[in-house]
């Protein structure tokens, strides 16, 4: 690979490390480390050295699965620079919605006048966060439920160890879906609020990130994919997704299949019947149950096999559709 391409990739990656809108921002990684140490010291009563060994477990960070995560992270950074300009943009969504609202509403409801600016900003920030989390829940659920989508999503689930960079273990087809989801959520939220409240709408931010995204990430979002399993008090786990609940989502145990699709909020799982509480000290195996991927960490398994599998599914589907016509012809 040419030198400047490597430099470009590193720049892309480094930008994320220094961007508080991204989960792998150094500050969030540090806060996750701090929370993990506190948990292991105070709850699990493990000494500092042992805590450190558990967090930076060589069998996790140095595993073949982890190395596949790192490879995918860099390859995807490159692929996304090519794909991104071709994916639906949030501005396109926002303008379509903004235009449509002019045709739907004769005028803006007068009840909306005189609302304090901070209320509007808080409402927008909260609405965006909730809609985003809701959309993430449902897309995630479909990624598991629809065989075609699962053929791509299982790349993420093929990780047998979890570290914060496993979040990047994503097939590009899935990355396109995530980008479209994000464009739809951001475009719709922005256009609706801007139509009704004009320039009073702002995003409540800390370090350039939404306050809710900031809080979610600061409070250990990176521990969702990590060797440290932190459980919340069960009433809280009905609302907020604990890192241990996400570990359950990655578990190969049968009772854990198709549970805990939520991201920041677990309330969607609670409402739609997919919630599973965590248990302190529960030992879990991560990865895919069965032997669907012989070696899940090769580039072929991570990039090409899902495409082949999806292609086969589509061919099969097309064949099923054509059956009635074939019968008609033979009759």
């Amino acid at each position: 690979m040419p030198e400047n391409a490597i430099q470009l990739l590193l720049n892309e990656w480094l930008l994320d490390v220094f961007n508080p809108q991204k989960r792998i921002f150094w500050g969030y990684l540090l806060s996750s480390l701090f929370i993990a140490i506190l948990w292991l010291r105070l709850i699990n009563k493990i000494n500092f050295q042992s805590s450190f060994i558990q967090i930076f477990n060589r069998n996790v960070w140095g595993s073949a699965s982890a190395f596949a995560d790192y490879k995918v992270m860099f390859i995807n950074a490159f692929l996304m620079t090519i794909l991104s300009p071709r994916i639906l943009a949030k501005a396109t969504v926002a303008y379509i919605v903004f235009y449509s609202l002019h045709l739907l509403f004769e005028s803006k409801p007068s009840i909306l006048m005189g609302i304090p600016q901070w209320t509007i900003a808080l409402s927008f920030t909260l609405f965006l966060f909730i809609l985003d989390d809701f959309a993430r829940y449902w897309l995630h659920r479909w990624l598991h439920a629809v065989p075609l989508l699962w053929s791509f999503h299982k790349v993420h689930h093929s990780a047998s160890t979890l570290n914060p960079f496993t979040v990047f273990r994503t097939h590009p087809a899935e990355a396109i879906l995530f980008s479209v989801r994000s464009a739809l959520v951001q475009g719709i939220s922005t256009a609706v609020f801007f139509f009704f409240f004009g320039n009073q709408v702002t995003l409540m931010m800390v370090l350039g990130a939404s306050i809710f995204t900031f809080a979610f990430n600061l409070l250990g979002s990176n521990l969702r994919h990590s060797p440290v399993s932190i459980c919340y008090w069960h009433p809280i786990e009905l609302i907020l997704m604990s890192p241990a609940q996400h570990h359950i989502h990655h578990s190969t145990a049968e009772k854990h299949i198709d549970k805990n699709f939520g991201v920041a909020l677990s309330v969607w799982d609670w409402i739609f019947g997919t919630l599973c509480h965590s248990k302190v000290g529960e030992q879990l195996n991560f990865g895919l149950s069965g032997t669907k991927l012989i070696n899940p960490n090769t580039l072929k398994s991570l990039y090409l096999d899902p495409i082949q599998e999806a292609g086969n599914l589509l061919l099969n589907f097309a064949h099923q559709l054509s059956l009635p016509f074939q019968r008609e012809n033979s009759a």
């Binding site: 950074a77 005028s107 990047f168 995530f178 709408v201």
Partner: protein, 470 residues
Amino acid sequence: MDIVIKRPKTTLAALIASSLVFGCVFAKPDMYGNFPVTEKSYSGKKKDSTSYTGQVARHVLHNSLKKLAGKGNGNPNPELKATMMSYYSSKDAGRKIIDPTSKGEFKVKQTMVDEISKGKNLKGKTYKGLVNGFPGQMSGPEVFEFLIDKASSSNKGFDPVTGYNYPQLISKFMMGAVFYSQAVDNYLDEKMGADNKPNNKPYKKGAHYTGKEHSWDEAFGYFGAPAHAMALNAKQAYGIAKRKDVKVADANGDGVVDLKTEMTFAHAYYAADSDKAGTKYMHTIVDAFIKGRQLIRDADGAALTDQQRAQLMSYVKVIKTNWEKVIAEAAFKYAGSCYKDLEKLRTIVESNGNASKAFAAYGKHWGELKGFLMALETSGRSLGEAGVRMNRLVGYGPVLLGGGQVTGIDSEGNFLIGGNRSMGEYQVHMVKLQKLLGDTFKLKARKIDVTGEMDDLLKSLGSSRAAEND
């Protein structure tokens, strides 16, 4: 501005003094004017070859015509129409300056058009091509004569049936169809050719300026900037047109404002208006005019070399590009105004309020928008698909409260109204128009940007690109 040196004691001092005086009179890089006579065939007494009084006279005719267009009483008024036509098409002596006139401390030196330049009209310099965006398939002069006729019988220039505001339509289109078109499609175009109005011949027989000198001056005159524009900031130049601060306008300190050199007219005023929002159109354009004029002066009455012409054409490019942006910025601003007016009107209509005042404001802003858009198409440069889209988005008239819009003109010269477009839909057109103008002309000032804040908000959300799992 003359520098007086009293009793120079040495030869050196005398030399310095004379060079200072010379420099002050003939080479002020920060102002347009006082360029020495370089035409070799001229033997008269004139020392300054700068001349654009004809253009200033036309600015005054335009300003006055705009005032007259708002004087109607709602009934056919042949007398008013004749007066308007005299400012548009006749070259009669004795025409008063109706605008700009003295206002309080802001004393204007001239009161008659002839004091600036005699025998000038606007019709002779009007863009003769088909006017895109206006119904009736008319040429430039035909459009103005049609508008003058309608304005003379309107009530203070406004027609509530069509939403047309005639003073605005006439004025904004005239700035393009006369001043802009003449400058960029004539003086800065064919007259910059090597063999057209060459620099080694007088502009016309007996003239004290060369072909290129006067062609350049005429283009500068049409822009409408005061000669000392480089010494003014945007707010000051803008304020002169509003007749606010006589001290700023009165560059030579004689206590009065000389319309020939000290006034801000037409597009220079709109350049200054944009520049208040951070652009530098006025200074960029005037600076290119000064540099170009200095280049011609430095040729000292000889034909321009290819190299000199190439350099001159680089200044032409700066002027043309930025001038076009100035007009597009103004159209962008009024598209935003129309959007806001429609917003207000929708609320009033919803609550069964009296919309007449808000409707008149909307008509005024629409007239400005339409006039500027029509002006953009008089430069001799086809706007291509962008031009077609602009005209389609705006249509022939503002969308009326009942959903109608001017769709054409019948054989009697009456406006036809039809269609059923909602005000909300027309608001969308205004947003799309702003986007089109912004993208086509790469605008920066973007005043009254309807979706500017939404764009900023979207940016604040960060990238939606996500190769990250949950």
